[in-house]
Amino acid sequence: MADIATRRSISFPAPRGPALLALALGSAAAILSLWHLSALLPAHRWAEALLAPDLTDMTQVLFHYSALPRLTMALLCGAALALSGALLQRVLRNPIAEPTTLGISAGAQLALGTATLYAPAAMEFSREAVALAGAAAAMLLVMALSWRQGLRPVSVVLSGLIVGLTCAALSATLILLNGEYLMSLFIWGGGSLSQQGWSDVLALLPRLALAGVAAVLLMRPLILLGLDDSAARGLGVALHATRFGVLLVAVWLAASVVSLVGIIGFVGLAAPTFARLAGARSPRQVMGWAPVIGATLLWLADGVTQTVAATQADLIPTGAMTAMLGGPLLLWMLPRLHALAGPTDAGTASTGIERDARHPWRLVAVLAVALPLLCWAALTFGTGPSGWTAATGDLFTQLLPWRAPRLAAGLCAGAMLATAGTILQRLTGNPMASPEVLGISSGAGLGFAALVLAVGTPSRMEQLAASTLGAAAALAVMLLLARRSSFAPERLLLAGVALAAFCGSVLGVIMASGNTRAFQLLGWISGSTYTLETSDAVLAAAVATVLILIVPVTARWLEILPLGETTARSLGVPLGSSRLSLVVLASLLTAAATLVVGPLSFVGLMAPHLARLIGLRRPLTHLVGATLLGAFLMGLSDWLSRTLAFPYQLPVGLFATLIGGPYLMWLLARPSGSKGG
């Protein structure tokens, strides 16, 4: 019976596209490698250095123990990540699934950071075991969170994203609190392929081989998993067991790579996509070609990295370079992408656990009352030199100018991000859409980073201008790309992820350099309201008021667009122009908010979800509820970030993620009495 489903996909010969792509990438990489190697050691001495290196000759040592292992490692890591990505994309039926989007890499990194600080003995014992434990814990958490939804693809990815963000926030907090001591975490975050012997290669090789065998054995059920759940079940696939097995293999591969060289994002996303773009049709072809393309892609990226690094004193991590190469390439090829992987069941209702509140406006009223209460508490209570105090009278007046602007700006930013997130989630019909995911925040971050590198210690106005320009540029790229596909939601999302990965990689390069400016950047990226002045607060309030008041006008679009294109057209909603207006509105909201709290708050992802999970599902109540929740979340974060570790101040964006992430996890995992379809 399986033959019916698989006969077409086994039909070899395979299309020539993927082979040509791999050949092109591979030959470019080979030329670069040969050039580097011959610059290190004349070609006629390679055999000697390879077989029996003279340990007193430094160039031979470098050739044998640094250059060759690095080259091999690039190939192995590329293949491992690509296979991991291909498996994840297949099993989750989601084209943007890869180790970094599922929280696996972030979990591993958090484990490494925590162990470095609190259990150094574990790090002495085995860094790899620590990373594997972290990655496995993150994945288990993701599985646990989405178990109730029967490990449905969208739930898994959503949980993965939340777990990943929470882990990343915790890692950033560790770095901030422990300063330069965690230089290693910066480097791991960037993913450097520098080698100092063959031990890493020998560690990864058997793992990759085993995972490859496992992937071949799991091929048949995997192909059937591409069908929808009921069809696959009907054909006798043990859904949970298969998914669990495939996820395990994918996590194991990704964790091995993270533990050895750090986070190399994007290869797991790009390689399977490239394989499909180049003409690989069947799962078997994608699964077969993705590792080859991944290996050559990372090989090439590392070659380019070394070429660029030769002109720079600073370390340039290869992980960052992959995204710099792959990002634009993916953006360019996107309009040529005909079919995204398998049937997607993404949709606003797809998490399937929310229910309508009986009195939605009452809920909104409760939120509306809670917000001023929070503001009063945040302005009055705080930690002082002698513990918690309520500021009254003179002290209140004296502290107010220091507490009010950041609280006000934080509230506005939270509200704007939440509104933008609601718009984007309804527009794309995808619960993972958020301003952070669409790359607009990253664009603003990139503008800021460029300024910090160019000027060093920029003024407040220069910072604002640079961030706005960055956000606008990112927005322009997104609009340009999206227009070609008349703003089709999936492409918008994929383009956004590519753009975010690109911007993120540039920031990664700066971070990995360990530059003291990296700390300036880290402070802003992790979302600090610390630097906000009264003028910022007034500006944020004005922009927020104007933009948020426009949004209710679009309520009808937001009601209809999630129902699908056909319905929308038949109800007379102009698809192109309505989507354009909504995207522009969301981008403006995001840009303004990002300037205030940095690009890493994730309130835009969480607030709309929270609003829906408590039962606000109609567009208008959803919008108002999410906006209030976003403001509340950010206000609470600002208060806590200021007081909890007093006098040490933590970035508000991190706190928003740390508060919202676990709560969202709890909401996802809790038993739900009335499961709405």
Binding site: M58, V61, P120, E124, D314, A390, G523, P647
Partner: protein, 299 residues
């Protein structure tokens, strides 16, 4: 805890709209010799301490006690939190009449000024010679704090120590020095000519083997394979080294093949603040001299 009065709330609403500088008591007259000093910059903090002034507040004191070590910070100094984000509420409540800051804090300079007059250090500013700047700035800080005499003594003592070490090294002829700080098992951080350590090497007439660009923060993160580019240099590792690095390095063929390691000439120094002032410079020179001239023998 009483509720804020209506007047306070009105004042609060107003304060949101007018520049807060109006609602704050600002230090009226320029201070002659500041008595309540707060230091947000570490180089300034240690210099003030070395001049015999105990600041009312300093940043990241827990970390300071662990990695700067000398001069010690008394317990009564209030902690202002992270260097990257000094707690302004706390700063306000310690009521300083002078704030010692640096070029790292240009972004919050305006707001620091609203609390008290600000003195800005450029010791570790980009592309400078931190040691030379530190000599000048110590004198400046001395007169600012009414400790001109102490500053004179500190400068003379430091210079005398440097001169003594320079003569020792002239006889020793140790060759070029490659200063690194271990990042992880595959990466190190080097210190260039524009770092405090680099400019101390210059003062001691020692050659710094890292001549490459170290933009903006006086140090560069590189892969350990690049240590092989300067085979003639003596490798000096400045602590702290992250846990788990040592065992991997000792079994790494590449690390073991490095000339310094192979010859057993690797030197390890305890932690020194890389962004310090004269006290850090002296500590670095003392440690370097002690460890280069016969390991621990010179105790």
């Amino acid at each position: 805890m009483t509720l804020p009065t209506r007047r306070a709330v009105c004042a609060a609403a107003l304060a949101l709209l007018v520049p807060p500088v109006m609602s704050l008591p600002v230090a009226a007259a320029p201070v002659e010799a500041a008595s309540r000093v707060a230091a947000v910059d570490w180089a300034m903090l240690e210099t003030a301490l070395a001049l015999g002034v105990t600041p009312v507040a300093g940043t990241e004191l827990v970390h300071y006690r662990r990695s700067v070590v000398t001069p010690a910070v008394p317990d009564e100094v209030a902690d202002l939190g992270l260097r990257g984000a000094p707690n302004l509420e706390m700063l306000l409540r310690t009521a300083p009449d002078l704030i010692l800051s640096s070029h790292f804090y240009t972004g919050i300079r305006q707001r620091l000024t609203r609390i008290a007059p600000v003195h800005i250090s450029t010791i570790n500013a980009p592309n400078g010679r931190p040691y030379v700047r530190a000599l000048t700035e110590t004198a400046e800080l001395g007169s600012l704090l009414g400790r001109a005499e102490a500053a004179r003594t500190l400068i003379d003592d430091t210079e005398a120590a440097m001169e003594r070490h320079r003569r020792t090294f002239r006889n020793l002829r140790p060759g070029p020095i490659l200063l690194v700080n271990m990042g992880d098992t595959r990466h190190v951080r080097t210190f260039g000519a524009d770092s405090l350590f680099g400019s101390v090497l210059e003062r001691l007439d020692l050659a710094n083997a890292w001549t490459d660009r170290t933009q903006y923060r006086a140090s560069a993160t590189i892969g350990i394979e690049r240590l092989a580019e300067t085979p003639e240099a003596t490798l000096v590792v400045v602590e702290p080294t992250p846990p788990g690095v040592e065992p991997v390095l000792t079994s790494s063929p590449l690390w073991r093949a490095l000339p310094s390691v192979r010859a057993g000439a690797l030197v390890r120094l305890p932690a020194v603040n890389p962004f310090g002032g004269l006290p850090a410079a002296t500590r670095f020179a003392d440690l370097l001299s002690r460890h280069l001239t016969g390991g621990t023998a010179d105790g």
